[in-house]
């Protein structure tokens, strides 16, 4: 690997297909990325862009059928998660990779106390006794900023507010000191003031615990505030990848550019009219033979409809490590 072997997670050529009655839906197409130790990778995209399916495929959370992870390697350390047995994968989930889902109400079990749900992975993965697990659970709740933790362990999820439930989910995901935390739209269901609390919490925990985080969202504002590096997905593919400041300062892909323009801002001059991306995101019913964005792109030309672009670096660093984009169009091509 170009900058040393410090990637904790390395995904290459991941393909996931859903078999439906209407045919196969190619939800994820040759997605490659890596995650360095202590890094926060933001994944942005609209619904249906394949961002959640990609992350679920990594840790075998998709029901099969209908899902089918066809190709690719997912290296966590020196193990390929797509090749190991279901039992081994269970040991990875929770212990090595923590997962926080979008909706904290549906991802907690309503009939068990919060305490028993935090203690479960501790007993299962770390082999603690009940008493040890309880004291660790109290520490975890305090870590995520829930006061009166010892008494709160006895409460049920419905007695918690939305923001507190999400804190509990984060506590569970962190319980076994995972190397990687995958957070799938963890703040989307929350109000802005609560969202700000959770973002601050995650920033603080990162400094304290130094784990690598993948943060999935459709909110570019959240990404701007929290990520080190950003990966933009569209139509099941990675269309652009760059360090966060670079991406917002010099977006390359027409989709990223348009997306940044459609969002109204709180500051600066107020546009008389919003920029619009006409049309709808595609449903990939076959392996794409053209650029998935070609029907909505302002810069489309023949080659886009003939050939699906591969990611190319736009600086000297290799693809995946600097700024890269999957697009045939360049400012020069517009002239030619």
């Amino acid at each position: 690997m170009p900058d040393g072997g410090d990637a904790v997670l390395d995904v290459r050529g991941l393909k996931t297909v859903f078999r439906t009655r209407g045919g196969e839906v190619h939800a994820v197409n040759s997605v490659s990325f890596h995650l360095k130790k202590g890094e926060l990778l933001g994944v942005v995209g609209e619904s249906g862009s394949g961002k959640s399916v990609t992350m679920m495929s990594l840790i075998g959370l998709l029901p099969s059928p209908p899902a089918d992870v066809r190709a690719g390697t997912v290296m966590l350390g020196n193990r390929d998660l797509l090749k190991i047995s279901p039992d081994e994968l269970r040991d990875v989930r929770g212990a090595k990779i923590g997962f926080v889902f979008q909706d904290p109400m549906t991802s907690l079990n309503p009939v068990f106390t919060v305490g028993s749900q935090i203690m479960e992975p501790l007993i299962r993965h770390l082999g603690l006794t009940k008493d040890q697990a309880r004291s660790r659970a109290i520490d975890l709740l305090e870590l995520v900023g829930i006061s009166d933790a010892a008494n709160r362990l006895q409460s049920f999820p419905h007695q918690y507010s939305g923001g507190m439930r999400q804190r509990v989910m984060i506590a569970i995901a962190l319980s076994c000191d995972p190397d990687v935390l995958i957070a799938d739209e963890p703040t989307t269901a929350l109000d802005v003031t609560i969202q700000a609390q959770i973002l601050e919490l995650v920033k603080g925990l990162r400094q304290k615990l130094g784990m690598a985080i993948i943060w999935i969202t459709h909110d570019l504002g959240v990404i701007a505030g929290i990520a080190d590096r950003v990966m933009v997905m569209y139509g099941g593919q990675v269309v652009e990848q760059a360090p966060v400041k670079e991406l917002f300062a010099h977006p390359q892909h027409p989709y990223t550019r348009a997306l940044l323009k459609t969002i109204p801002s709180l500051t600066g001059t107020r546009a008389a009219r919003l920029q619009v991306i006409e049309g709808q995101p595609p449903i990939m019913m076959a392996e794409p033979a053209s650029c998935p964005f070609c029907d909505r792109c302002a810069h489309v030309f023949d080659r886009c409809r003939r050939e699906n672009p591969v990611r190319r670096g736009i600086d000297t660093r290799p693809v995946g490590y600097g700024h890269d984009v999957a697009c045939h169009w360049t400012p020069e091509a517009a002239v030619a």
């Binding site: 802005v192 969202q195 504002g221 505030g225 997306l259 459609t262 969002i263 801002s265 500051t267 619009v276």
Partner: protein, 350 residues
Amino acid sequence: MLDATPAPLVKVRGLKMYFPVYTGILRRHTGDVKAVDGVSFDILQGETLGLVGESGCGKSTVGRALLRLYDLTGGSVEIDGEDIAKLSPEALRKKRPTMQMVFQDPQASLNPRMTLAQIVGEPLVEHADLSATDRDARIHQLMDQVGLNRRFANRFPHEFSGGQRQRIGIARALALNPKFIVCDEPITALDVSIQAQVVNLLEDLQDRLGLTYLFISHDLSMVRHIADRVAVMYLGRIAELSPRDALYDRPLHPYAEALLSAVNEPDPNLARRERIILQGDVPSPAKPPKGCNFNTRCPRVMDICRSVKPELAQVEPGRLVACHLYSNIPHAGSTGGPEVYEHLQQGVNT
């Protein structure tokens, strides 16, 4: 806003909407959820008033109460000169065409067994006396207005995307030439790239048809784009009501300030600025705190906030704020509107 102020189309005074709570075996009335507790504002002809706040603050309830989808607990709602809170069912039915609603979830607000033409045509069947050919012509005209292809007239809602479904909802709201439309989070369920399409459509229609909107949303940056004035609600009451630019440049109420500071700007340099992080959660509207309802989370709370409820009062021309921080500031000039002053002995700690 212009100085030659147009007449208000909608006048809301002391609107209250309580939902009773019954407990025990005898289902005794033990309390009320005060979803909206004394809200007053005007919406001028042709204006868009943005109504923002967190979930549970009562903003959707205000929207529904304004169209009398609920029977009000108290207060009055005057639309186009008539107090709809007092109208008889028959008179209310005649009034309905002037006031319409666009709902949040286009999936749930369209009947899955009706075709687009039936959905858009239903209000015409109910309220307008049109022949079948005239009705079809009107349906087609409405579809053109919202940018739906006429060939889609006989399709069902599931055959459309989210953005198209929201266009159907808008066409239905427009069918009877309303003057006033309540847009209850019309873009929340849509993807970012589709949101802009729907917002532009709403703006075009307003320009062309002279519509007046109440635009309910929790997306502060989108409200900045579409609204002329903005009301910030917290726990059933209005915390601040200001012209758009004044509010976004310099919010006066501490809650409005915290809310704006919590928004994530899509710019890595801005997004990493210092923010005001509010502690705790919104209290339950069944047991609102005594005094100012924001006192449990307010970073600038004073003693008086825990005992006396601040009234919404004009602190600068055109800006109404319900906060004790501003209640002893002598104010310059008067343009009318509710003005209540609390004369305090304590100094204001800022």
